[in-house]
């Protein structure tokens, strides 16, 4: 009894000596608690409710929403699409931006700052603007892309990039890569700055040339960054809502409806006179969030495992 009492006292004493640190945490904790932790917990509660609109009653229905989700093909299609979209865009974006970054990292390349800025421009362009401009660019009626494709003889008649259910997802993926390659390029450039210049010199003297420099010198050096950059890109690709909402709203015929578009439609804009289903949408959000977390943890465990295998080999 006395022992636990002293333990408590020691603990409280330690807490007390750090009171200024805790004070420093307050502003951050307000934001973190209110807009990140609380919504996570609340979503889990909402997912157990039948709740048709913010003004209507909440009825507790247990796990019925989840059971309904499991049998909802719209949900599964959207769920799958989100991951397919990520699987297409992330590798493409990482590779393209890495190549551009390696080329632009050459100090003697004049205009490299200009090229960097131009590649970055789509990043600062809001998706609503991209939605409008790209609709014009890709228009099947005399859009510049179709004119170019027809002139070059790649197609015999204009393609309806955003109106054809088979083309819409690849098209959106391409636009997504175009929009975000610039930011990944900046991450790579930052990583490349940490590679010492002398290393390139030494490699050159040893007769290492061209792509070999990239594969044998640069890549091993920036591997730790590569993991972080891949993670950030993968997380961003799962949050693709703005681009798709601005361009197709999930259409045509739900062909581009990814998870967040499904959630938004179910919760805020059901259309066709249907009622909003906030509980159901929350359940979809929770399911999706947990799936991402599980995948992330698996990824981290896998990287750790690979690293420890490498280390034991090195020993």
């Amino acid at each position: 009894m006395a022992q636990t009492f002293t333990a408590h006292a020691v603990f409280l004493d330690r807490v007390w000596t750090h009171w200024k640190e805790y004070l420093f945490l307050v502003p951050g904790m307000l934001i973190f608690g209110t807009f990140i932790i609380y919504p996570m917990l609340a979503s889990q509660y909402y997912s157990l409710l039948q709740w048709t609109g913010f003004d209507s009653n909440q009825v507790f229905i247990g796990f019925d929403n989840y059971v309904a989700l499991l049998g909802d093909s719209f949900f599964w299609d959207a769920f799958l699409r989100s991951f397919v979209f990520t699987a297409i865009t992330v590798p493409a974006q990482l590779l393209i931006s890495l190549i551009i970054a390696i080329v632009l990292n050459d100090r003697l390349l004049r205009l490299s700052a200009l090229f960097r800025t131009l590649i970055f421009l789509p990043v600062v362009t809001p998706v609503a603007v991209i939605g409008i401009v790209m609709a014009i660019m890709l228009s099947p009626f005399n859009g510049p892309v179709n004119i170019a494709l027809l002139d070059a003889g790649f197609v015999t008649r204009a393609l309806d990039f955003l109106g054809d259910p088979n083309l819409v997802l690849p098209t959106l993926a391409a636009i997504y890569v175009w929009k975000w390659t610039g930011v990944t390029m900046v991450y790579w450039l930052a990583a490349l700055q940490t590679v010492p210049r002398e290393l390139f010199e030494a490699a050159r003297l040893d007769g290492v040339r061209g792509w070999q420099v990239a594969v044998f010198i640069i890549l091993p050096m920036i591997m730790p960054f590569a993991i972080v950059i891949t993670l950030i890109s993968a997380i961003s690709a799962l949050n693709v809502f703005p681009l798709i909402q601005a361009m197709t709203q999930g259409g045509p015929f739900f062909a581009s409806e990814v998870m967040e578009v499904f959630i938004f439609r179910t919760a805020f804009a059901p259309g066709g006179g249907a009622v909003p289903q906030l509980g159901y949408a929350s359940a979809a959000g929770v399911f999706f969030g947990v799936a991402i977390m599980v995948l992330t943890i698996l990824q981290i465990v896998a990287t750790r495992h690979l690293r420890s295998v490498e280390r034991s080999r090195a020993v």
């Binding site: 919504p39 960097r116 809001p126 660019m137 959000g285």
Partner: protein, 289 residues
């Protein structure tokens, strides 16, 4: 013999001097960049055309340039007031989030207070929560606080966007600073708060710039949250929601739409041009930690 082998390795091409090679690379890059930004250049020129001429076949440069689209977009389509709405949300959230994450990152990076490991774990755990997961409770919460249809609500909720990444950036950066700095300050009788404000914070300039640029990009581009909050109150729309609504409401006014789009892009482009050097250096310094 050896040089022969090298020649063969290169597929028989004559070796190019580095200067010629750089010029070729530049030409290829210039062509790539021209295609890359073509949609945006097209938009810029289209915004200077009278409406009847937008899709006229006269090449890229407008023959009768005019600014009337801008005047119409700024006043009739309310892009002027949306511009200031966005500015409020962006500047407000940048200030709040920079201060809050710097303080939190400082404590997490430099001090070993009880509960530090748990807090770290919680932060990393939430890193991967998609926005679709939190939007309903955030809207409900803001509504119950009376902020469900207000710009202040949008601004406050926008601070959470990349909050965790920023905290981790600051924590990583502060943790690799030498201990001597703090000790010297303590010897001189400088308190905890003053050490942070006058010694540590000025040293973390690269991270501050990185956070400012990233949060500005986030706030300026953010779409789901402002869309949901302004559904019932069009007067507080931000630019990106405004342009989106413009498309729905005045879908034949292409000139106005292009001008509205240009208004939305130009400020962030200027900001990036001014800060890009610091931004890249800051990121490099940040990920090193």
């Amino acid at each position: 013999m050896r040089s022969d082998a090298v020649e063969k390795d290169r597929g028989g091409l004559p070796a190019l001097s580095p200067r010629v090679k750089r010029m070729l690379v530049s030409i290829v890059l210039a062509a790539l960049c021209a295609i890359w930004v073509y949609p945006l250049i097209w938009m810029l020129f289209a915004s200077l055309r009278p409406n009847a001429m937008i899709f006229a076949d006269e090449g890229l440069i407008p023959s009768q340039p005019t600014l009337e689209n801008y005047a119409r977009a700024w006043t009739e389509a309310n892009m002027g007031s949306y511009f200031f709405n966005t500015l409020f949300v962006t500047v407000g959230s940048v200030i709040l989030v920079t201060i809050a994450t710097a303080m939190m990152g400082y404590v997490l990076g430099r001090s070993s207070f009880p509960g530090r490991a748990a807090l770290f774990g919680l932060l990393v755990f939430t890193l991967f929560v998609p926005q679709g997961y939190t939007i309903i409770p955030i809207f409900e919460l803001l509504s119950s606080l009376g902020l469900g249809q207000s710009l202040l609500g949008v601004m406050l909720a926008t601070t959470a966007g990349s909050f965790v990444i920023f905290v981790l950036l600051f924590a990583g950066y502060f943790s690799q600073m030498p201990d001597e700095l703090e000790e010297a300050a303590r010897m001189d009788g400088v308190g905890f708060v003053k050490t942070f404000w006058f010694v540590m914070l000025p040293l973390s300039k690269p991270i501050i710039v990185t956070v400012i640029v990233m949060q500005t990009l986030y706030a300026w581009n953010d779409f789901l949250l402002p869309l949901v909050i302004t559904l019932a109150n069009p007067s507080i729309r931000t630019l990106s929601v405004g342009v989106y609504a413009f498309k729905g409401e005045n879908f034949i006014d292409w000139g106005g739409m292009m001008a509205a789009s240009a208004i939305t892009i130009i400020p962030v482009v200027i900001l990036f041009l001014l800060l890009q050097r610091y931004f890249i250096d800051g990121l490099a310094g940040a990920v090193k930690g």
